[in-house]
Symmetry: C2
């Protein structure tokens, strides 16, 4: 077997995170240690460590003696997340435009191409993954690892909420991605920042509409 350069807790953590982000575990759902450890074929210890880590990241809610649940991202929390995320995405885009590293730009172009295709024919699963990939690569373009990590954490949490946005919004997403990338390539810092900030707000508005509509349906 290849040298294990990572711990089992990390693997378990990535598994659970993945299932949450894919929507396999829904917000509010209980995450029972025994069941997870049985499903993943490990003992409870690495599962506990994974859940603890995810709770600090904000993806899981941990109540003492009452166990773990998938974090419920309320509209109020979304508003707070968006307020911070919009600011950071803006600054990040500004820095990305300042550097406009050719290698990263090439990667972003590649992701953009695949994203545009997926916006038409892809599954929600693929869309979510490509969206994450675009933002991750854009975040790396600032060459600030602290910024990249904070943004990733915020993005994962908003993505749980934004999952209710449909294909219409996905098409808009990728149009906006294209605009941001163009500004980055041009080295137009101000425009890149503006578009990136606006992109977050637009996604949030789409979420707010979808959320209100869903609440209406539930009230019928």
């Amino acid at each position: 077997m290849a040298a294990d350069r990572t711990s089992l807790s990390k693997v378990v953590s990535d598994q659970i995170r993945g299932q949450i982000l894919e929507g396999k575990f829904r917000p509010g759902e209980r995450l029972v240690e025994d069941r997870l450890s049985a499903d993943l074929g490990v003992s409870r210890v690495p599962v506990r460590e994974a859940l603890l880590g995810l709770s600090i990241e904000g993806l899981v809610r941990l109540e003492p003696r009452r166990g773990a649940t998938v974090a419920e991202i309320t509209p109020e929390i979304v508003a707070e997340l968006v307020e911070v995320r919009a600011l950071l995405e803006g600054q990040n885009a500004r820095l990305a435009a300042r550097r406009h590293d050719p290698e990263i730009v090439a990667q972003l172009r590649e992701t953009l191409k695949r994203g545009n295709e997926a916006a038409e024919t892809g599954t929600p699963d693929q869309l979510a993954r490509l969206n994450g990939e675009f933002h991750e690569r854009l975040a790396e373009a600032s060459r600030n690892s602290v910024l990249t990590e904070v943004m990733r954490s915020l993005r994962e949490r908003t993505s749980i909420a934004f999952a209710i946005n449909g294909r219409d919004r996905a098409r808009e997403d990728w149009k906006e991605h294209a605009g941001i990338l163009a500004a980055v390539i041009d080295g137009d810092e101000e425009l890149a920042a503006l578009l990136a900030t606006r992109h977050v707000h637009k996604a949030a508005e789409a979420f707010a509409r979808a959320h209100a509509a869903a609440a209406n349906d539930a009230a019928d």
Copy 2:
């Protein structure tokens, strides 16, 4: 005994975090699980969970199979942290000025008073604690819990590095705090944001000077 509404891992985590922030554990120092568990009178499990959490917060570095060390905050990392922190402190101060909640303002005044005293006669320990308290309360003034938590995480990490700043800088710190608070009370959003951003940069510059001087001494 009063009802334990918190887990032992949390207690242990707070203990270790406190010792790191007080400088009891120095950057680069190894944190051996056995020793910590013996010192704190608990088993290794809560210690492990605490270390894992602290590593996600960025205060501890965890290498697979090689254990935990107190995170070393290099000048490069400081620069990254400061770039993000300055932005967030600015936005936070802007929001604080917009709300200028009387109750929180009263608390800030109280902390400011004690901070000014400590700047003259307090121990480095007290200074660090009061500095943290001021920034924590200022962060709460924005009424954005996400922002508060992200800022706390960034602040803790910079504070490890900024600990080498001496009493001269402490006096400047509290002068700047006074300026920020005054702008918040006035509801002057732009000034509050400017001063808060500048405050972070000034502390970073003081750190850079102190760090360079220390490096010079070491080269002698």
